[in-house]
Every structure is written in structure tokens, then in C-alpha cells.
Symmetry: C2
Subunit: 534 residues, 2 copies
């Protein structure tokens, strides 16, 4: 986990882009405030599953939840002779590793069913949606199961920024991200180059180093090498293309430095992208659910679907799980030597268990992250055809709103745009809207980024998920405060008798698939060690 | 075309990345020098073919060359009733729009045949290989012909830089591009923030603007908000990942500012990518030749293959083309009302024609760009599995050498790496090497970027193209000097009697497919106007 006192704080947040607004308007301190209570990170410690020596034929392990953690445990233990059974409350495998496509149905905590009606071939990753390249544990199974991968465009400099509340002439004006990036780096390079030229760094740098610095600044900032000034650059954007012309391109005019400063739009990017959100990330071809399906091909026969766990008890030799078959209403009991539970802590803490008070306190400690998303089907890819934007995003700086373009199906006829990505308070508000209200809000807002296009090309098909209102999830992910994590995580990581906790919720990376998989790796290693010792 | 006196000059060059070395070692002036005689640009004037009114049933147009220009002309004129025939010297369509894959054969000017033996599913775009999103003319046909597209990763911050001749401790050291980027932007932000804090900009900026600037610099440079210093950042790179740890990530240590300055490695990037080489570019799924095949599906029956043009004559009413059927050796003659020639000017200028002296002078004026490429099949994707690099490139700063990773087939078993991309003198030298020498040179060099991996995993399959030594091309593209362009292009753009010149060679964008297509659009418009007037 990223330490909250490090200077890196503001950057980890860009994982969920809604804070761009805070940064642009309130500067660093606003971002720092917004970060409180947040829990973000990245990574991958192990690159391969634990190398478990020996087999254990017939030891029965009951796994609660057929998400990536549960299926990882079943797959790996199965290879070592364990008899695994997975109880899954939903009628499908994958946990939150879902993609909305024609026929996909999600159920809310109130029992409302939302079925996606996108056209054939159109889909949206409404759960996890992007992988950085060093999440080795996920890539391990992607390779093993032969899941084809493609680029997910995280950063596209051609995306738009428009902040209606920004000060000065740029307030409410739609600009390309690269215009701001080029101008800010140009003007700041000019300032430093000129100050250097005027002797401001004579005490700090040698002549040779100042010369090298100036060379760098000229290049970095697209400066005029003679007078060290930034006069704009073709590379900030072009207003005219003429492949047959003497001048093929005409560059756009740079914004005034003070105008950008006033607007705060310069705070929408950084020296490098955050480590966990590089410009190019990765996604399975055909939808994130292809990862879940890769696992399901291997362990599908071990899964009992529609199995809602009601009770979790254990004695010295045995774990007993009572569950309800939601299809028939029948109540059933399963016994096993061990149990791995990936049930969201917020849900498990409300069930009947004989777990210790310390463990119950730990389960109840974290917050449930509220997260809402909305995606809209468009009948024409105007963002590609008219705006030259293929993947990436645009932003109005409104918390909860976004315009995220699809990173697949380029040059096709239709496409799915994500138009809401809300967290915290914004997600609660978003979740309370009706589907019609959500769509209207998204159209009204997104129309400002794509005037005359967004509403016109909306194809009357939308899909919305509110993870905190989704049955059997009740949260986007588990949000730990640092003190709670420090206090309670050790309890949840250790065996509670014959019961082991897994899922991204007990990893250092809640909300990331790598956390789910590595949590399973960690727990099966403990179970196996215990079995081998016996 | 980009004006050569603009401060943007160094950046247009990055199209062909070999100049990175010059920039890093010699600073701006070296790049400026290297630019002399160069001809680079981007763009797309027209977004759709000319809207030609009326039809001309039966007017015969003979098109020389089934590259993108020739096929565009045949396709568009065919829609208006023209009787088009294409004479193509090669046994396949597409011109330089080629992909090397199992069975693909290219022939050198000496008659040597090079056949690609890559494994099934492996391919390499040895001609055009990337499209920026605003090359509308190309995207127009991609959409029309339903060519599936995907991202071509132009910039990947995880790629390596290693400059053996760089000064100081970083000389010969392999570093990630993002480490240099983060550190340079960090240190320069620190310098400017501190100078600002010390009052250096008090005369230039208001208090409020200085505060805004400082906010920006803290964010841009990952500075410590308290003392405005750059102390490194997690986002430059991580040395340890632990998804189950309390500290998920451990950041790597920043390089010393003076060490980077001395090394010149900071000159390997700029404030924004060049406009024609954004971080994400685009390529057809399955190979660039899919664009050629899209055209061929439409106009394939109009093409006469193996037709090597020998002579081009015209009188007042007729164009007469004599060609040799290279398969049978027979000589044949075709007559037509008009002729569009896309034959490389350097080749056409050597044929028998009755073109004017002025026109002959124009055809002989441009240089033939020497270009060489080499690609190697690897039996394991070590760059993905071991180095977390999916697409993008690494560089040693050696002219002619590169390590370009494939932007397709991620997480598969094998992959094709481009290990030479040579221009000018370097291409001539490269072209004189035997295949074995080329491979050995590439392995020796690339092994420095991927020690212990590159040579070990080379799969003994390589393909090489030297465009200047390729039959019926004899150049990578046509290189115009600005004065020659100014003097001769108007001649080539105007009808020479009944003969019209097309191809990227007469556009403002030699070497780009958009230039080829738009040249055809421009010329068919003139032919049609002439026919309609008659």
C-alpha cells in the first residue's frame, strides 16, 4: 500500500479518475483531503502460484464464492488432489469479473433484475476493466488459459477536458489534453531556460550542465532555440491537414500561460502516468469476463450455482456450511475438512457464524466502497469519425461523470461509451436515480463534451451497475482505513480454525483481480502446509 | 510539410526513431543537421473521396501500379462507370502495403527471392506499420471495407534506453524510459518551483499565478509539497511488488539530476509526443496488408499481375503502355483514354516515355530513400513475461538498430521483434550485409537490451527487407528536398497530356498511405473534370 504521508499521494488517486476535478480546482490540498479513507495500490508479489509439494487426495475443501479467488483456489488445490466444491450465490461464475452484453443480468439487493440489451458484439466491462502489465498473477492465468489480450487505452492525449467552473477564458471551453500538456510543459520549460540563461542556476550547476539542461528544455518544451521562448508547437494540435499541400499541417495557437494557470487545467496530468495506470493497459479480447470463463472451463464442474450461504459453523474436525438453493428455495448443508470463504466481509459479517468475536470485529471493520457505472450504446462512433479519438477518455471534471471510449471494435458502426463512474457520495446519489434519470443526466453532461453528437447518436440502450446495491456484492470493493487494516488484517489472514479468508478484500489491493488471485495463493499454501503436517 | 525553420523541427523526425541517438548525444543542433534533406510530415486534408458528379461509361483508364493509390483510383473511378485496368509488376496487390508472413516472398533488384518462414499466425509489417488517428483518408477505406483495427503501441514508458556512449554513471546502463521521464520532470519542476519560491518570477507573475504554478509543479514533478524538492516517486518505477504486503510497492531510487544531464538521456522524450506519432497509433488486426486486401476484394478483377511496364507513350487521343508479362516473358500493349501512373518516379524516369523534358527533370529530381528492416521470430515472449513490456520499443541509440515489440498476440508463446530500422547511410550498410550478418548484428546489439534472453530465444527465423534494393520499389519512399519539391511538384501534379501522376510520391506525405490515397483522389478529380468538360 502506498504510504499516505508520501509525496506520491495525489497520483495514486488517478486510478479512479473522478478526482481529476478536485486536483484541477483545489490544487494538491484538495486531492489530499479527498484521499482520506481511500485505499488504492497496485502490484504483484508472486509471479506464479505457490509450489506446493505433495498431494492430498480427497481432503475436502469447500470454497465460498466462484470469483477469481475462489476459482484460483479450486484450480490449484484440484491439481494437488484436493476435493474442492465451490458454492456460488449467483447463477454464473466470475464474481465481479463481469462484462455486460446482450442477455447479461444482474440483480440488485432489492431483487430488481437489470438485463443488458446491447447489440450483438457490443459489451462493457462494468467490473474490473484494465490490467497493468506487472499484475503477474493475472497474466499467469491469462497465459495458462489462453485468453487473447489487447490494449486498453488508458491515456489518450486527444481526449477532451472541459471544466465549466474553471477560471478565466478557458472556463467552459473544450480543449484537447495534449494542448494543455504541450503548453504547460512549453511555458514552464521557457521559464526555467530563461532563468538559467540569466544566471539563476550559476551556483548550482556547471556551465556544461546548464548547457545540457538548456538543450533538454528546448527539446522538452518545443522552445525556440534562439530566444528560448515557447511559441506553441505543431504537436499541441493541428487545425488544418492537407496531405496534398505544401504545408501539410497548420498548428493550432497556444493558449496564454496565465490563462491555463488560472484555469487549473494543467493539473490534469503529471510527469509520468501513475505506475498502476500507464498510458496503455491491457484487457482480454471480447470482455473481461473471458478471464472468468478461462477459470470456469477448468473448475466449472466443481461449482454449485444459486447457492446462497446462510450459516458457517465449524468444530474441531469439520466445517459445516448451510446454504439456500435460490432456484428451488431448498436449504442444504455441506461438510468439508476446510473452508475458504471469499464472501464479501460486509455480507459474511451479517451471517450466522461461530467465528470469534475478534474475527467478527475484523469483518465488520472495513467500509463498503460505493461504486456506480453507466454505459450507453451509441449508433455511430462519432468520437472516432469526427474527433479522431480511439480509446481513452474525456472529462468535465464533474465527480461521478466521465466519457470513456471503448478500446475495442475500432472503426465499427456502433460502440459503448461509459458515461458515469461514481464513487463515495457521488455513487450513492447516482445509485438512487432511476435508469431514465441516469441516462438523461449522462446525456446532458456528455453532450457538453460532444455537442450535437451524444444525444443524437444515443441508441436507446444503456446498462447500469451500482456495486453497493448489487446482490451478493453490496460494494465495489472493501475499503480499509490504514489503522483498521493494520489492526484487523492479520486476523483475517490467519486461519480461523478450519476457515480461511480469501478475496481481494484481504489483499493489499482491494478492487484488483491480482489481489484476489494472490490472496488465494497465500491461503492454499497455509491449508496445504497444515494438511501435510497432519 | 513542416517548415524547416520552425522550432518544431527536431520532433517531426521522431517518425523514424533512429534519430533518438542524435538528439541524446548531440542535442538539438545534431538533430537539426540530421534533418537536412529529410522529408517528413503527417495529415489528411480530405476526409472523403471527391464527390464526382456524373458518370463516364466506358472511358478507359489504365492505372500503373496496384498500390493504395492505384487501387483507390480504380475503385472510385469504377463507381462512376470508368473502365479501369491496373497493371501491376508484382504478383500481388498492395504496393508497399505488405506484411511478411509464412510464404510471403519479396524479390530484390538482383532477382534474389526472400521468402518468409515465420510460424503460422506470426507476421511483421515491413512496409507501413502505423496510422495516426487523423489520417482520415485511410480510415475512410478501413471503414468502407470493414478492416478490423487495433492499437499499435508507439510509446511504452516501460521500454528501455541504454546508451553505451552516454557520459557519466548512466552510460551503458539499462534504464526504463519512465525513470528518466519522471526524474527529469521532477528535477526541473523542483528547480522552477524553488526559484519561484525565492522570488525569481515576482515581476512576471501575480501571487495567485505563482501559487497556481507551484501547485502545478508539485503535481507535475511529484514534489514534496513542503520543501518543493523531488525525492523520487513510486511512479518512476517499482523494485518490489507484494499484493499481500502492507507496503504493496517499493519505489525505485531516483537517479541524480546531474547524472541524467550528463548522459543526455533526458533528450529521448518531449513535452508531448509528436503529433504524427502519438503514444497509441493504429494497425489492422492481422497485418497492414489487410488494408491492401480490402481494396483488392473490390478491384482485384481489374488487376493484371506480373505486368512490368516498359514504355509509356501518348498521342492526342490515346495513351499506349507496353509491358512485359514477367511470368511468360511476352510483351503486350494496352491502350486507354487516360493513364494514372503510380510507378516510383525513380523507376519511371528510366523507362522509355515521351514525357516532356520538364517532366523528366521532375521525375529524376527526388532522392530514393534507403530503408532497411529486420525482424526476428522469438520462441518466447520474454519481454512480456520477464520485463512487463507489451508493445512499444527499446533503444540503444545506435543508428539503424531498434527493438520494437509486437503490438499483437500478447501473452502468446512466440512473437516477432523488429531489430533493425535503418535509413540513409545506415540502411545502405545494412543492405550490404548477408542475412546471417544482419541477424548476428541484431542479436549482438539487442542482447545488450535483453541480456541472456535475446540470443537464447531467437527462433532461427528472420525476415529482412531493404526497400532501396527491392524490385519495383527501389526506395522506401521518394525523398524531396524542399527546393526540388517547390520546383518540380507542380509539374507532376498537373496532367502531362493524358498521363496523371499519383502515389504518396506526389503528395506532401511521402511514405504514408494517406498520401497515396489522397494523391489518387486529387488526380481522379482532374480526370473526371476533363472528361465531363469534353
Amino acid at each position: 500500500m502506498v504510504k499516505r504521508t508520501s509525496p506520491d499521494q495525489p497520483y495514486t488517486i488517478s486510478k479512479r479518475e473522478f478526482l481529476e476535478g478536485c486536483a484541477a480546482f483545489g490544487g494538491v490540498s484538495a486531492v489530499m483531503t479527498a484521499l482520506n479513507g481511500w485505499d488504492m495500490g497496485i502490484a504483484s508479489a508472486a509471479e506464479a502460484p505457490p509450489n506446493l509439494m505433495g498431494r492430498s487426495e480427497g481432503t475436502k475443501v469447500l470454497i465460498l464464492g466462484a470469483g477469481l479467488a475462489g476459482m484460483t483456489a479450486a484450480y490449484e488445490l484440484g491439481l494437488r488432489g484436493y476435493d474442492c466444491q465451490i458454492l456460488e450465490a449467483r447463477p454464473f461464475a466470475g464474481g465481479r469479473c463481469q462484462s455486460s452484453r446482450a442477455g447479461f443480468t444482474t440483480t440488485t439487493v432489492d431483487g430488481e433484475k437489470r438485463t443488458c440489451d446491447f447489440d450483438e458484439g457490443q459489451y462493457f466491462n462494468h467490473g474490473p476493466w484494465r490490467l497493468p502489465s506487472f499484475h503477474h498473477a493475472v497474466f499467469h492465468y491469462i497465459r495458462k488459459f489462453g485468453v487473447p489480450m489487447e490494449v486498453m487505452v488508458q491515456e489518450n492525449d486527444l481526449g477532451y477536458i472541459q471544466h465549466d467552473k474553471a477560471n478565466g477564458p478557458l472556463g467552459g471551453r473544450r480543449v484537447r489534453k495534449r494542448e494543455i500538456k504541450a503548453d504547460m510543459r512549453g511555458y514552464t520549460s521557457e521559464l526555467l531556460a530563461k532563468l538559467t540563461d540569466q544566471g539563476a542556476l550559476d551556483d548550482e550547476l556547471t556551465n556544461r550542465d546548464r548547457e545540457k539542461l538548456t538543450d533538454y528544455l528546448i527539446r522538452e518544451g518545443f522552445l525556440d532555440a534562439k530566444d528560448l521562448s515557447y511559441k506553441g508547437t505543431l504537436h499541441r494540435g493541428i487545425t488544418k491537414f492537407d496531405a496534398m499541400g505544401t504545408n501539410v499541417m497548420t498548428g493550432s495557437k497556444a493558449f496564454a500561460f496565465k490563462e491555463i494557470l488560472q484555469s487549473g487545467l494543467g493539473n490534469s496530468f503529471q510527469g509520468v502516468t501513475t505506475i498502476d495506470h500507464p498510458a496503455t493497459m491491457y484487457q482480454p479480447v471480447g470482455g473481461m469476463d473471458q478471464i472468468a470463463q478461462g477459470f470456469e472451463r477448468e473448475v466449472g464442474e466443481k461449482i454449485t450455482f444459486n447457492a446462497e450461504v446462510l450459516e458457517l459453523k465449524q468444530d474441531k474436525n469439520n466445517v459445516r456450511v448451510t446454504y439456500r438453493d435460490t432456484a428451488t428455495g431448498e436449504t442444504r448443508v455441506e461438510n468439508a475438512n476446510f473452508c475458504i470463504t471469499t464472501i464479501p466481509l460486509g455480507i459474511l459479517s451479517k451471517l450466522k457464524t461461530d467465528l470469534s468475536d475478534q474475527c467478527k470485529e475484523a469483518m465488520a471493520a472495513p467500509r463498503k466502497m460505493t461504486v456506480g457505472k453507466l454505459s450507453l450504446q451509441m449508433n455511430r462512433r462519432f468520437w472516432e469519425e469526427d474527433d479522431n479519438i480511439y480509446g481513452g477518455s474525456s472529462t468535465l471534471g464533474i465527480p461521478g461523470h466521465t466519457v470513456i471510449y471503448p478500446s475495442y471494435g475500432y472503426c465499427g458502426k456502433k460502440g459503448i461509451i461509459q458515461s458515469a463512474y461514481a464513487f463515495g457520495r457521488a455513487a450513492i446519489v447516482h445509485g438512487e436515480l432511476s435508469m431514465g434519470q441516469k441516462v438523461e443526466q449522462a446525456l446532458e453532461r456528455s453532450e457538453r463534451i460532444h455537442p450535437g453528437q451524444f444525444r443524437k447518436h444515443y441508441d436507446n440502450k444503456a446498462f447500469s451497475i451500482d456495486w453497493h446495491l448489487t446482490r451478493f456484492s453490496e460494494a465495489g470493493w472493501t475499503a480499509w482505513s490504514p489503522p483498521d487494516r493494520q489492526k484487523h488484517m492479520p486476523v483475517l489472514r490467519e486461519p480461523q480454525g478450519r476457515i480461511y479468508f480469501a478475496g481481494d478484500q484481504v489483499s493489499g489491493l482491494p478492487g484488483w483481480q491480482v489481489g484476489a488471485i494472490e490472496s488465494a495463493w497465500a491461503q492454499i499454501e497455509k491449508i496445504h502446509a497444515s494438511v501435510m503436517k497432519a
